[in-house]
């Protein structure tokens, strides 16, 4: 029983951490229809920046903010390559991801891994210390839950602002944005900045939870983020009252649950990334199939 509970908590914790990144991937992939691969580089960028800052004695919350801004800057580079230099969307992402590998190594001072055990993190400073004994044991889960909810609420608010609405319009219809006297390229860049900012934020949270940052922690992040988005939005599409941000977070938790379940059933760890890819394909294909059926029935209904 204890084992199951621990697994459950583990799934939730990881689901929340990667859920933040999935919200970012949602902006680039679902809102802008931009297959952004730079996430594989911006996620560890957030982690590395956080490690460097915390080792330098910076407050963990400020480290979070800095990670977000660094992610935004990297996203702006992807946007610049694509919008201004007219490099294809996939290639722009790959170039930034590749370049960031070196940037991340430099940030960590030439090391591939930077542990910062027993330094203050989100989970050991501030209001967390005031938690009663019983809840203190679950502080990681509580802090992660609060963080993810806060990011979600801010994202929801943003989607309702002028900028947020125009961003949604930009993914849908370039011409409409042009007609409002705004450069659609600028909106694309903004979306990429926000998406990568969230990915870096997610990397920062992961680093603080693990008390260590690794240059290679970004491998497979794009696939994981996309899978969360697709699982969440296709499984929960029927629930009209749910915001896409909620769907994506649930998708992230479900995806983690599927991975953990497979591991528990005895799948060797070496197969993890393969399983991630297979799960992604399954989600994509079933999502498309469900979508197709819905469209057909909608057509029948209209006719």
């Amino acid at each position: 029983m204890d084992v199951i509970l621990r697994l459950f908590v583990n799934v939730l914790e990881e689901g929340f951490i990667y859920g933040i990144m999935a919200m970012g991937v949602y902006i680039t992939y679902s809102v802008l229809h931009f297959p952004d691969l730079s996430v594989d580089g911006t996620f560890p960028l957030g982690a590395c920046v956080t490690a460097a800052l915390i080792l330098a004695g910076v407050h963990p919350v400020i480290a979070l903010g800095c990670a977000f801004f660094c992610g935004c800057a990297a996203g702006a580079v992807t946007g610049f390559l694509h919008v201004k230099l007219r490099i294809s969307d996939l290639l722009s992402g790959i170039l930034v991801m590749t370049g960031l590998w070196s940037v991340n190594l430099v940030v960590l001072g030439g090391r591939a891994v930077a542990p910062f055990y027993n330094k203050p993190t989100l989970f050991s400073t501030g209001l967390v210390k005031l938690l009663p004994q019983g809840l203190y044991l679950r502080r990681v889960l509580i802090v992660l839950f609060l963080t993810v909810v806060m990011v979600k609420l801010i994202a929801d608010l943003y989607y309702r602002t002028k900028s947020g609405l125009l961003l949604r319009a930009a993914g849908d219809n370039d011409q409409y944005v042009t007609a409002q006297g705004v450069d659609p390229g600028r909106m694309k860049m903004l979306g990429l900045m926000l998406g990568n900012g969230l990915a870096a934020l997610s990397g920062s949270v992961l680093a603080q939870q693990a008390e260590s940052a690794s240059v290679s922690s970004g491998t497979g992040m794009v696939v994981m983020g996309l899978a969360s988005v697709i699982i969440g939005t296709s499984l929960l599409r029927g629930f009209r009252f749910l915001k896409p941000t909620t769907m994506v977070i649930v998708g992230s938790v479900l995806y983690k649950a599927a991975l953990v379940a497979a591991m528990q059933l005895g799948l060797p760890t070496n197969y993890l990334k393969l399983l991630m890819a297979v799960l992604f394909v399954t989600a994509l294909v079933t999502g498309n199939a469900l979508d197709g059926r819905r469209k057909q029935s909608a057509k029948a209904y209209r006719a």
């Binding site: 943003y158 602002t161 002028k162 849908d172 042009t178 659609p184």
Partner: protein
């Protein structure tokens, strides 16, 4: 943006425009070689012409989605050659043939209108939909008679082509503009919707006193609407009838000219 313009300044002046697509290739096609056109303030110009006569290129040159090889485009007395399409959009409104282009399918009717209402101002973190303007927006769509005022929270994607086009027309004329461009905006609609949209066009143009350039394949619309008729052929204006002279051209007469031209070209 609607600017104060001295009455003797033309709204549009295109002088000696040259445009060749795919130069120095097998697909080279010269659309304009020394094309000139002046449109006066308050004119409602209908443009007709066969495919490939240069109508769409004319509109694209005005809006900035295509740049001229040579020549100058002036709008309201100012050269706009250096302005990008989105910059020109601040004073030129355009309704496309495709109803999907003028509105945003994923956003609701209300969100579409609210975003357009903000045109010309920055799109920052202010509330996207100003609730206090809701009644104004409702009053705006009510005269359409389409019942949209009761479905403001419906996604635009679920509207019919005619409804979307009517909404697109309202949206692009909402903030003051100098010039309205209608790019075969009724061509993709069924006959009844196209009548409705045309009536709405007439009303909006009159009400806001907009200078309008309408490209159409519907000869009857071209004859019945506007105060000036242009027929284009191979990059040149072959018929230009303004005000009184316009009465000389009936639908039959136009068809006759069309056939004559086609015979000359040999198709």
């Amino acid at each position: 943006m609607q600017r104060l313009i001295a009455p003797d300044v033309p709204m549009v002046r295109m002088q000696n425009i040259h445009k060749t697509f795919n130069p120095d290739s097998v697909n080279e096609r010269t659309v304009f070689a020394g094309f000139s056109l002046t449109i006066w303030q308050g004119d409602f110009v209908s443009v007709i012409g066969s495919n490939g006569s240069g109508k769409t290129t004319l509109l694209n040159l005005l809006c900035g989605s295509v740049a001229a090889d040579r020549g100058c485009v002036e709008v309201a007395g100012e050269c706009v050659d250096r302005l990008k399409e989105f910059q020109r959009a601040r004073f030129i409104g355009r309704v496309y043939q495709d109803p999907a282009k003028g509105t945003c399918a994923n956003l609701t009717i209300l969100e579409n209108i609210a975003l357009a209402d903000n045109k010309g101002k920055p799109y920052w973190l202010g509330n996207g939909v100003n609730r206090r303007r809701l009644d104004t927006y409702r009053a705006m769509v009510e005269p359409l008679g389409l019942g949209l005022e009761n479905q403001m929270h419906l996604a635009v994607g679920s509207l019919s082509g005619g409804q979307r086009q009517a909404l697109a027309l309202l949206i692009c004329t909402m903030t003051p503009i100098d010039l309205l461009i209608l790019d075969e905006h009724t061509a993709a609609l069924d006959p009844r919707s196209s009548e409705t949209v045309m009536e709405l066009t007439e009303r909006v143009v009159k009400e806001k006193k907009l200078t309008t350039l309408m490209v159409t394949h519907n000869l009857r619309f071209a004859v019945e609407h506007g105060n000036r008729l242009l027929m284009m052929h191979q990059g040149e204006v072959v018929v230009d009838a303004a005000d009184e002279k316009r009465g000389d051209y009936s639908v039959d007469e136009l068809l006759r000219i069309f056939n004559e031209i086609s015979v000359e070209v040999g198709n």
